[in-house]
Amino acid sequence: MSKPSSLWEYANPVRFLAVSERILPALWVLSLACLGIGLAWGFFFTPDDFRQGSTVKIIYLHVPSALMAINAWFMMLVASLIWLVRRHHVSALAAKAAAPVGVAMTLIALVTGALWGQPMWGTWWVWDPRLTSFLILFLFYLGYIALWAAIEDPDTAADLTSVLCIVGSVFAVLSRYAVLFWNQGLHQGASLSLDKEENVADVFYIPLLVCIAGFVLLFLALVLYRTGTEIRRRRARALRARSALA
């Protein structure tokens, strides 16, 4: 296959499938390696925090999953905008493919947050700005998936889910910046910062970065694989429709 001259050539489903089949094995291996190493490092080989005790080990799941829950929605937003502007089916299918992965990431962030919050704050849940906006983001994910499932015509479904994605982006932004917008609530500020004073201690920082890399790579692998599945499903449906007409 010739080298593409433009990024938009990947919008061709055949080229997209060819490229993703080539890079997926490496992505699976790298993501599992980073996750395995990062989580094992964080769980077995990092010390307890002087204030939070061993609950600090939850950071290796909570921070990467929360990061990916928000970034997955932004990836869906970009793909939806590309669909609305350029009408590339692959981008609409990529957004559809990313939603269940985003749900999984949001669920992990909410569950680990509750499990971490209980011993630290004395409560599983509080209607804090960040927690509430995260819960709304989770509901938006479910609504997005339900909307795709409810509409039979795929182009109409892609149009309407793209609009929903744009609206939901408000809550994705709020999930990230709620702590800065409202100076209230129990949730702390960012765990990762360019400011060394605000950053987590180095002993936690490096395994956390490895875990984040693992979550990012796993997200990419899942989205590429699931987009391929959606492309094939669309092709099978088109072939069936053509045979029915013949």
Binding site: F43, S54, I58, A104, V111, Y225, R226, T229, R232, R240
Partner: protein, 50 residues
């Protein structure tokens, strides 16, 4: 080998168990659905070629 998690053992272990379970479910569901759709497309192509 197992670190001493002290009085917070339950929340830490539950966090790891629940998160790994969610990750395994999303990966397994994606792979199973992917294989099913691949087979479905192959059948549709074979039917077209008949």
């Amino acid at each position: 080998m197992m670190p001493d998690l002290g009085k917070y053992a339950q929340p830490v272990l539950w966090s790891y168990a629940a998160s790994i379970a969610v990750l395994v479910v999303i990966v397994a569901a994606s792979l199973i659905e992917g294989r099913r759709v691949r087979a479905e497309m192959r059948r549709a192509e074979e039917d077209r070629d008949v």
